[in-house]
Symmetry: C2
Subunit: 346 residues, 2 copies
Amino acid sequence: MKKPTTIHDIAKMANVSSATVSRVLSNSSYPVSKELKERIQQIAKESNYIPNMLGKQLKKNSSNTIGVIIPSIVNPFYSSVIFGIEEVARQNNFTVIVCNSLQDPALEDEYLRTIMEKQVKGLIISSISKDKSQLTQLMKLGLNVIAIDQKIDEDNVNQIEFDYHKAGYLATKHLQEKGHERIGYVTSKLDRPSRRSIHQGYMSAMKDAGLKPLVVESQTEEVYNAITEFDTGKQLTQKLLEHSPQPTAIFACNDMMAFGVINELSRRDIQVPEQVSVMGFDGIDVGQMIHPPLTTIKQPDYEMGKMACKMLLDMMQGDDSPMFDVMLQPKLLERKSIRDIRGEGK
Amino acid sequence: MKKPTTIHDIAKMANVSSATVSRVLSNSSYPVSKELKERIQQIAKESNYIPNMLGKQLKKNSSNTIGVIIPSIVNPFYSSVIFGIEEVARQNNFTVIVCNSLQDPALEDEYLRTIMEKQVKGLIISSISKDKSQLTQLMKLGLNVIAIDQKIDEDNVNQIEFDYHKAGYLATKHLQEKGHERIGYVTSKLDRPSRRSIHQGYMSAMKDAGLKPLVVESQTEEVYNAITEFDTGKQLTQKLLEHSPQPTAIFACNDMMAFGVINELSRRDIQVPEQVSVMGFDGIDVGQMIHPPLTTIKQPDYEMGKMACKMLLDMMQGDDSPMFDVMLQPKLLERKSIRDIRGEGK
DNA sequence: TCACTTGTAGTAATCGTTTACTATAGTAAA
DNA sequence: TTTACTATAGTAAACGATTACTACAAGTGA
């Protein structure tokens, strides 16, 4: 590895002090004669000068890096979030360090530490860890944090959440409005707050309508994996269909699972939506590519990423920003997997 | 922002020199008496000491960061690659900076610069830029680079490629072996080497079998977007079906596009695979969730990420590692979207 | 002429760590 | 007793960049 050019090298070549070089190359407002300025810029260019951010940031004691911790980048939901974060970060000359916690609290803490060592100025985190002690401690030390997606039950944490409860309610309500009364809910393990909220939303809607809830919950707790979700959807559907009378509609806690539901129903020659309607959750793109196109609840993932990054940048600027807790609203994406059965006998 | 604890603070508290603190806290092999060592560790813990990597890496002139530049993280193919990279990186105490070039050469160069300023020790890049001058220049300066997915036609660049040509050939051959002779190929714009290679693979296979190729190419050049690919697949299918006699099989250059093909066929009440067979390309998970499950070509994306990171780490270690150019082999994922029409009249 | 200001450039300390040297005391060998 | 070594700890100079000071010449006004 060749030794890279530094401002000192350039200073020597130009027969000036490194202070002057620094002032020129960092676009300081400090006055430098035009002639000298141009000469230095010329030399810098010729010698392929690349500023060393380690030095700069060490001196200025501030980096232009933000950390992001999410469960898994292969989950299309989170990759959209990150995409939004990155876009805003880049526009503001920030770079992003992305870490996959894989829903492992130990890994989450490890990354938290690594990120701090790298002197990030802010953190966007979707935390699944129950023990938030390390995180809150870092916040006390002055780390700017925005919690996304997964609510953190601590004071003084700025949050951007999805309104999972309303989303669950909305989905269930929609099915009811289409005339469905026996609505089954299939869900992965109710271990995360977000999942519990959707479930509660479903429960509320059923209760409000005076209907009997019907829930099957997966017991295996796993890292996100599209195929696993799909298979779970199939299995839970089997269980659900054991109930009698059978539901006329099935609401799944995520789109991949909904695909599994549809698949299992097709396998049994049960037509969707003619015989059973299916409601998804997430609004991933492929939902509209399958048959029938999946009616689902869209969480504004990309927008959440952009918003989180913007607000984090704001926080990092001033000390006077108020605390906030944003609730992003779900949106119903009405497609073709739900049948209107109003007015039909049973 | 509170001022963080430094080794000097700890040194003062422990009444020792900062050199000693450094030696203890960085697990140096330098001998420090057991008693003192424990005292320092104790104080470090109590005062929430977090080492400042900027200082450390500046001094040691080496960071434990690698850069990754890919077209877009929302493309599930690349998010798998990154996932693999990250996994290996973490195991080796490296962190990753991911940059989405969005297939914009200017952005690619911008990121290249940013990454260099951050003093990364290595780079994994899927480059779409035609002008590789900045990249080669950085390599001359000593940057370790591994090109993935998109071949870089320069000497001295270590590569990990997919054998796109063979993949295209394999897909076409498989259709032929199932008795298909009129095989259409639908592809997005042939502007990238990888896409051209698949196309050539298709062409070779058709030529070898003495069959007439039938290609429709999209003319719009765009950033990856699942829906766009899907729509393109539909449009190109329409065009393809204008030909007479109509093809009995359609090969699409990526899975999303294949979904579009299937969708358009269904819309016209053409059964897949009964009337027309469909071959995809990529092997994304949802391919097996749709109806019919999509037969496709799998590129080992996750494995490529792991391999790239491992080899990069090796490169960064020794100066004696040989140049390499790895060709990862495609794999046929046989599912249900292709019908065997051998022995049938016509 | 003197006192000030202005424009421009240099000096040197500093950010947090590491590490080549140096220093000291205790111990062992001669 | 002298010499030599060992174990342990401190001193101070880096790494690359920034910046509060200082320096100094030329210009300005009285």
